[in-house]
């Protein structure tokens, strides 16, 4: 699948970093299909963090360097216990350093977009004030939102794929297309 529009020669085009955090990708059909639908472009970097750091020893300097090279930081992860998988928490704790990402002189991430792509087993209805989980996904994501804000990043609402366990083949194709278009729209957005 090759996209028809490669604006690689346009300086204005934002660079997207997709940070995938999934400890059991081999078991997650939803996430595999999302990955497959990501367009190929020089402006999109896809990184599979559980593959890079299987023993949780994160190369902080490298991660920071890569963050600096991108404008949109997209975290793709499943929703575990109302939060992210442990390696992503570890990554946040270690990479977003005081004096680099926040605090005095911590301006490295200024203005970059923070977006989460989240797959949930539960359906949309379960994540409502009157639903099974009693809260909306957005409410559960408050810590991430504050993190982004503290780093002076532009926090955007998450891209959600819900009820992954009830999805049929047809639904999967629909969701794929939706994700693909979402990312293309990010690429087209004028940066700066």
């Amino acid at each position: 699948m090759h996209p028809n529009f490669l604006f690689d020669d346009l300086i204005q085009m934002p660079k997207i970093l997709i940070q995938l955090f999934h400890p059991f990708l081999e078991k997650s059909k939803a996430n595999q299909m999302l990955l497959d639908s990501i367009p190929i472009s020089d402006n999109i970097t896809l990184r599979d963090l559980y593959e890079i750091y299987p023993n949780f020893t994160i190369d902080v300097k490298l991660e920071q360097k890569i963050l600096l090279e991108h404008d949109v930081i997209l975290f793709q992860h499943p929703f575990y216990w109302y939060s992210c998988p442990p390696l992503m928490k570890q990554w946040i704790d270690f990479v977003l350093e005081d004096g680099w990402a926040y605090g005095k002189n911590g301006n490295s991430l200024n203005g970059k977009k923070w977006i989460q792509t989240i797959t949930t087993g539960g359906s949309e209805n379960a994540y409502k004030e009157d639903g099974f989980h009693k809260h909306r996904i957005e409410d559960f994501l408050l810590p991430f939102r504050r993190t982004a804000e503290l780093c002076k990043m532009d926090y955007q609402s998450p891209f959600l794929v819900q009820g992954t366990f009830q999805l049929k083949e047809g639904d999967f194709q629909k969701e794929s297309l939706r994700y693909r278009n979402f990312i293309l729209s990010l690429l087209e957005a004028k940066h700066g």
């Binding site: 059991f24 990708l25 081999e26 078991k27 890079i52 299987p54 087993g121 539960g122 099974f132 366990f165």
Partner: protein, 618 residues
Amino acid sequence: MGEVNFFIQAIIYLTSAIIMVPIANRLGLGSVLGYLVAGIVIGPFVFGFVGTEGKDLLHFAEFGVVMMLFAIGLELELNLLWRLKFWLLGLGGLQLVLTTVFVFLFSIGFQFSWKSSIALGFILSLSSTAIVLQTLKEKGLMKSISGQASFSILLFQDMAVIPILAIFPMLSEGDVITNDHGHSLVDHLPGYQKTLVVLFVVIGIILIGRYILSPIFRLIAKSGSREIFTGASLLLVIAISVLMTSVGVSAALGTFLAGVVLASSEFRHELESNIEPFKGLLLGLFFLSVGASMELPVVFQHPMKIVGIVVGIIFLKALVLLLLGFLFKLPLDQNLYMALALSQVGEFSFVLFGYSEGLGIFDKDTIVILVACVALSMAFTPILLLLYEKTIFEALQSKAPKKQTTQTLEKEENPVIICGFGRFGNMVGRFLRSNGIGITILDYDADRVEMLGRFGFKVFFGDATRIELLESAGLEHAKVLIAALDHPEKQHELIRNVKHHYPNLQIVARAGDREEAYDLKEMGLSFIYRETRETAVKLGGDVLKILGTRAYAAERAKNLFLAHDDETFHELFDLRKDRVQYISLAKQRNSELERLMFVDLGKEDELDLDSWSEMERM
């Protein structure tokens, strides 16, 4: 010899060897004696399975000796010789000369002719490479001072065999009973031409070995199969023997020369390992036939004489060695050990006795008695060493710290002491050092110590099993002792010593394999590390990844496996004496592990149920 008869013979010889050699090895007497006794047992005077054809066999088996010399030649690396030159020539040379002189004087006193006295001197000055090296290896003393000294002496003796073989024909008394080495092609030539032909052949061997053999072997190695290479190695040895005997030089000398020429080639080890089994078996056959052809009645007629000679030989040889040890400033305990270890007469004396019988240097009865003496002297070595270790050696060890032969340790006060800085200790040391931990390193390999010194590692030379050395290395200030000696016996000794004198010091120890690890656990250690475990599992994990498993899944699989392996190790520990139960539990644990892995890697479908979405639907 009929076909059937030949096989029957082979069965008898091999069976006796298979029974006796392991027994002899078990008793620490070395396989040479095992073969010898096996030969005596099947010989005409005990069971009489084999008759007098022992003699014919001897000629065939002598080819083992030729191969042995080829192997000795292969081992002669010039740089090793150069490094040991001082020990070799000094210690080795003097040992041979002095022992020969003393034996010569004695036998002149016993009415031997001067020629046979010289021959006897040469024969008795040799020690048993096989027995001594094996003992040193078993005791882990190869790298110690006594080990190095012994090795040098043995190496010199091995090299001296060649000139000795050349001198022997000049020592023959009167008529030579030719050993029937075929007809020499050069018999009809006048003397100077003979010499020229021999020279030509020798130079030819050197040139061919240097410039032609390596490419040929390379070709064979590339295109041929393994057994063709073995065939080529055999062909080489046989061809050279035939060539040399046809110009009237001993086959042993020729193959030795070929060995030396090939010692520097890249095929050295390959050749060695190819020839090894043939050499071993033929030599075994040789010792067997020596045993089978021994005239036991003659031996039983002179028991006192034989005992006297044996004691005399051992005493004399040990004395000469002790003297030289003092001269070369060996520490007393090491010196005594070396003297006793080398006090027997070597297996090559059997070859020389056979040779000298053909040359008519000794009469038959003398040879029978002397062979018995040599065999007995070999049998005494392990017994003597055992006695020495249990009595004098201990006493010497427990004395106040002696003068260090190499260097005195200044008082070190590091929290960690590493004993043994080989492959394993080296890694540990580098890791700790890079984390800013002060370490004191002890190692018993002089070369390694010197090399590490050049890399800027401060390593102390010394035997870590000596508690006083450890103490001067700052044992009382240390918090952790890392026992990483390669040698299980030494390792145990070290741990026992430290546990006894410093029960509160934490010991972490390297083990080679599961069995060794059990031994260490038995000694009450709780920090035991099997050398290759993690590396092997890491490799396995990488293979999983190559085959497409995700990195984090592989990581979990490794950790799961290791944790399970730890548990199993402790469970099996209690059962390790009971083979049947041990195996059944091990099997059970293995299948359990497989199931665990299966579950973790998500190969069981029912696990894919997401309980949350189940609950949400309620």
